[in-house]
Symmetry: C2
Subunit: 332 residues, 2 copies
Amino acid sequence: MSITIKEIAEKANLSIATVSRALNNLDNVKPATRDLVLSIAGELNYKPNVIARNLVKNTSNIIGVVLPQIDGEFFSEIIHGIDEIAYTGGYHVIVASSHSQRTVAQSIINFMGETIVGGMIILAPMINDQIREIIKGTSVPTVIINGRTHLDNIDTVSIDNYQGAYSMTEYLIKIKGYKKIAHIKGPILNTDASMRYKGYIAALKDNHIQIDESWIINGEFTAESGENGCRRLLSLNEKPEVIFAGNDMMALGCFRVVKAFGMKIPNDIGVVGFDNIMLSEFASPRLTTVHVPISEIGKTATEILLKRMKTTSDNNFKHLKISTGLVIGDSC
Amino acid sequence: MSITIKEIAEKANLSIATVSRALNNLDNVKPATRDLVLSIAGELNYKPNVIARNLVKNTSNIIGVVLPQIDGEFFSEIIHGIDEIAYTGGYHVIVASSHSQRTVAQSIINFMGETIVGGMIILAPMINDQIREIIKGTSVPTVIINGRTHLDNIDTVSIDNYQGAYSMTEYLIKIKGYKKIAHIKGPILNTDASMRYKGYIAALKDNHIQIDESWIINGEFTAESGENGCRRLLSLNEKPEVIFAGNDMMALGCFRVVKAFGMKIPNDIGVVGFDNIMLSEFASPRLTTVHVPISEIGKTATEILLKRMKTTSDNNFKHLKISTGLVIGDSC
DNA sequence: ATCAAATTTGTAAACGTTTACATTATTAAA
DNA sequence: TTTAATAATGTAAACGTTTACAAATTTGAT
């Protein structure tokens, strides 16, 4: 069995209360005794029993992370970001990735139901009413990543998709001189997707470029849907000069189709994306895209969460936007 | 506050002991009372406090997963596999990914020190003496993925790298008719890498092909090291006909260099890899490689772990090998 | 109906902490 | 010194379970 404060107390001729206070260096404990306790603790290689502490404190130093079905790269990067901050704060990270056996909503309910987590980070690009209701009813501090920001009784962290798409579109217009700019959108209910679309539209309008509905295609953020979108665009009478795909996977889908059509990127048509995934670095030509600092999103969300876990009575909810940056490749 | 067995006991006019027994449907509890308890529990939406249970049972329904710095795809797949099995068994998964703040060894010590995990899965392609010592001294049930199998007082799950590399090499020789087969190895201390190398050598020997040391290059499992290796191979007087890279990332590095040299794959030189990562699907031509069922590894490891967590007194340690399969692309 | 055995339930301690409250020791002012 | 204020420590309850052990109830054979 492992060392408990009881043993330390015995060895130091103190009560367990004082030992506890000394270890957590609380209010009134004489420096000499604190040093004594600490040295004995070190000697015995004492490690606090987190479970016991959690029980009495009615909370937990575990952060639950709920993830939808997402790309492996995004998955690992976000966990890394969360884990790094959590670790330095003495917290652990439980992941609940969505799979055949479990939906996002179920994961959340699970986490809250068992007393297992002291805080939650939910990655929900497509937050729906069900999830919203569940979260509303909980007392577990929660941060949502990529939620609609108008969930205002909860902290949120999101990518500044609007700004990213706006910058990219403006870059295509002002720097590259394109006028015929197509866009392949992401899933309809996906917040990221719709904000990117809005940024694209706004940049066109601000630069007095006529919006052509036939150049706006629905996609699903998958390579395949990018292929389909691209095929449709290339079969139009009036083809666009450049395709702004809602994400990199779709852009890579476009790459495939363009090549299959025997056309050259960027000479015959430009293709740009959004996300800056690792894959895009291996594409040839190198993809011009919008960099999303995934790990930073995780870190920021965790920082906010830890603060909230420490001070519950703060009604000032944060809505942070993580800004993006253009990555200039050779694809337009 | 949430519902406890105390409240159920009150409502049912029973002691908390009986309620506990009923909920865990233990030995001797009258069917009628069990039903009563269960219905009240359902009514009140009772969820057991796992923390309290863990405290008294001196264990935990949390599995700690220790991961080194690995590729995002591998990371997420393995977690998925682990999580899926863990979830159906009522377990949670804590991840400790290695990052700037923490090494693998530290993660393990952390997990064991705090009472936080009831079992561990350690992904350690480069298991060293330090880690071995730490694991030896723990009472936490542990499964190692990719460890040397000669750690015989512990369960292990590993990829059958030898068989995979052997099959690939044999395929190159017998089906494709290659005789000049180069190999770019992975990191020296990496078990996967060395087993792959051994498989390659064995297949050459078994097919009576002279081994040429200048065609065997050290790599680091990174795209860059693949580039370097390829560059060296292409600058030899007697060039190989095909390069068997120790993993896909290095194979993709080769792709880049071959293209930069103005050569064509597979006409001028063949390139094959190992792992079957998603990236390789996007390479052109499609990479011929060895498929590693990552998710299945995670699942298998978890199944073994859960069994061991339930019955501690089993000294019959398992050493499972997950077999691989060839994926035929167009790169050789 | 009686008694022993078997079944079912209850009592209370335990798990390792934290913390309100009580007690004791120390300090500083009178 | 005495006394009051302050600082340091101790006592004991609490967190929500599980589980030996004890007690009570039911069952079945006589």
